[in-house]
Symmetry: C2
Amino acid sequence: MEETFVVQALSALAQRNRLQLFRALVVAGPEGLTPGALAEALAVPGATLSFHLKALLQAGLISQERRSRNLIYRADYAQMNGLLGYLTENCCQGQPCTALPVPACAC
Amino acid sequence: MEETFVVQALSALAQRNRLQLFRALVVAGPEGLTPGALAEALAVPGATLSFHLKALLQAGLISQERRSRNLIYRADYAQMNGLLGYLTENCCQGQPCTALPVPACAC
DNA sequence: GCCATATTTTTATGATCATCGAAATATGGA
DNA sequence: TCCATATTTCGATGATCATAAAAATATGGC
């Protein structure tokens, strides 16, 4: 995993609106959510929401699919797991650590 | 875990210098590293380094201890694990997921 | 007490980010 | 084709961040 990608992904998550957005999508699971549903859930104006969804999308943390008139956003669990794993890589030079279970979400 | 803390921690990690700093401390393990060693390892001026160490410290991701003339910085593994767990909390409403192993580093 | 070393704080500058109203665009149905 | 709905892009504003030189501070040894 690229350091540049990791920084971008962490930047994307390091903001209240976007963190809530991402978590909502993580909880929603494979069905995902539309911008409309998210805007209502988080009580954020459409333009602001779109701005933040774009950031998460460009960071590769969520995906977008058109479903007729709606868009559907979903969390990208693979990227998320890669990101989490990166932070603990080579922890303690392997020495006194419990073998690092990379956090897995297999939705 | 507080959302405010999570955002601050993610912000702290969402920067190249700080990410490298944190990872270096994660790899270093319980012995930690001094600012001098870190400055040399990352090739960053002292003032810049100190600025970033402070951010990680205030975010609770690392700890500081004075050891005579040197300071020693260490990664805070508990906070890191809490942070990682937060991102996957309530994933997919519990449904089709492999039970979430929270990533553990027990250094 | 005084010096050398290690580290932090101050300060200034330029760069990037968050917000959201208004305008623009896409989509499906009539 | 034309309208209504869903969503995004544009644009302006204020706020926050990264950098690093220079000055300030802490520590231990002499």
